[in-house]
Subunit: 261 residues, 3 copies
């Protein structure tokens, strides 16, 4: 930023630096190769906190490349983790423990635990979180069904949210899928159900929530609702600079946001 210093005096367009627990950006990577991954970290490492390897792609990525990406990210204080669906595949086969151990052997330090495709009772969910934590993994959980076209009720959400944090999860994620349409807090056109989010905000800690928000209008709406503290997930890898300009008012959509009182 220092090259722009002479005219870059507006502190509202600055951001706190990593490591941070609010204002985090979590990306979705659907298969970046080695050069592209280097490029991503070269241009945007300071803006990235997490990178999720979407759904089960980790399972079909060559091992050398998986290890290389994990290590390269680690050097930039970025944590990789496989999408929750991969956990669900393992869980359904009765292999959750082997899954967690395999992650550790690759160098992963975080795991996502979800039941977007399978069904988990609260008890099973708690056991999985506890097991992952005991083995040494940090846990992000996700709430929401992939094929239901709405978020759980506020009460239901809060029950799981509190449960997961009590069992040792660091973050809880609101499901938004890769596309952000007709799922969770998004209607069929991808618009945010503002009332739901506002009600939720009265009862949760934004520093514990990650909102999957793959589309610009969703990122913008959540920035307007939650401001700079909002943790955004499922950001497409090639949109990270664009999202970061939204966060800093360097794009039309949020140009005046930080001037509002």
């Amino acid at each position: 930023m220092s090259g722009w210093k002479s005219f870059w005096t507006d502190q509202s367009r600055q951001r706190e630096s990593k490591p941070r627990s609010v204002g985090i950006n979590s990306l979705i990577d659907k298969g970046l190769g080695y050069h592209a991954f280097q490029d991503l970290l070269g241009i945007a490492a300071e803006h990235i906190d997490f990178i999720k390897l979407g759904f089960g792609t980790a399972g079909i990525t060559p091992r050398w490349l998986l290890r290389a990406k994990i290590e390269l990210a680690r050097q930039h204080q970025i944590s990789l983790f496989p999408g929750g669906t991969f956990f669900e595949v393992a869980y359904r086969q009765g292999d959750a423990q082997a899954y967690f151990q395999t992650l550790l052997s690759f160098g992963f330090e975080w795991v996502e635990i979800s039941d977007g495709s399978i069904d988990l009772s609260l008890r099973e969910r708690g056991q999985a979180i506890t097991l992952a934590r005991r083995l040494g993994l940090n846990v992000i959980t996700e709430i929401g069904k992939k094929t239901e076209h709405k978020a759980p009720s506020i009460e239901e959400f809060l029950t799981i949210y509190q449960h997961d944090l009590a069992h040792g999860a660091t973050y809880v994620t609101m499901e938004g899928r890769e596309h952000g349409c007709h799922v969770g807090i998004y209607d069929v056109h991808g618009h945010v159900q503002t009332n739901y989010v506002q009600e939720l905000l009265t009862q949760i800690d934004p520093a514990k929530m990650i909102w999957e928000a793959p589309q610009k209008k969703q990122q913008t709406a959540l920035l307007e609702l939650i401001r700079s503290k909002v943790n955004l997930g499922n950001i497409p890898a090639n949109e990270i600079l664009a999202v970061e300009t939204l966060r800093r008012g360097l794009r039309s959509d949020t140009f005046f946001l930080w001037e509002q009182k």
Copy 2:
């Protein structure tokens, strides 16, 4: 895959390896540079059978790069070929033979023959296929018009399909364009016309067909109809791992597909 072996016991999520004539993935490349092409093969070569250089892009790609991509792909048992539109440009100029010879001089081993923009009689179509075969090229043909908003009738399709195979084509492709909307078997929203596909399936050999399916919902629908044998075309290059997770039930959309009897 072996890193995941300890919990990766579900054979239904495995795939037969290359070379294969069913379950093939054919990508569309609209201008990948050298590093990006290396990345693609580095992360996904075992999942890729063909890469089409979309429409006439081959004609404006630097020669050194074209040769390098063909050779790099060949080392991974992947065949490149220019989009059919480029053949149509040459054919319309009366230069089909020079076109085929130029392809060979670059190292291409496959060619696509189509009449999506021009009109070819069956006789002209047969002559072009025969000429390409005689010169030593393998042939993929394509059926469908770029600007008609529906597939040919079943009868019409079958006539051309049988004609092309009889003249030496290895695969016949169902037109889907790059976007997959309002063309061939896709309606204006990109949904598959299931009845048409099901009727066609009673009369064709899936091992001879490639279905252009650029969108996830199309890939999913065709996997549900044709299962693991389906040959998918026009897969966006950056979606190959995502498509492969669909094929293996490593993504929500097909999570339970292979458990159904």
Copy 3:
């Protein structure tokens, strides 16, 4: 191109080479890393005249990378410039001069001056253009508001267009944003308002206009209206070969365009 020479005899599919003032392609880059930028120039440098660093992304790109991209582009006769929104951020802080000087210190030779988010009187606009020119920058201006859903009236447009050129701008840009929907000459579905463009064409010099046209249907429509001289802007970086095939009739959408009289 020479590899295809033997059958590549149709002059209508050729293009004049750089440097050129008509038929230019101006790309939008939202955060290409170093390898990707090398790839882009390696595959398409001869088809690219300008690359805009979208909105304020220049301000959060590492300095070494910004300098490297500017220099690499310069070697290929391609000019980089930051999006107009970044100018507007600086202007609103009262730092236009420092902004221009910082651009020069990085090696930028062009600047975009716009008022898509802020309001500038004609006089302020003229002063900014004059200042940039006096400091040694070439100027591209942009006409249109980011959040208005239509173009200015023909009269209003022409007033600003003539004003900007008279004050030393080299090109005037019609706003289309990154998405090309419900803005400027595009309706909510991204279709071109043909009447407006045709009326404008009777009173402007196409060699002085850049039309932001991020979508294929927009590029195609403008090629049909303005033919090979049209200057296209906001072309997504990964679409440059696709756009160039449109320009040369190497894609179905414009296959017959150059045969029409």
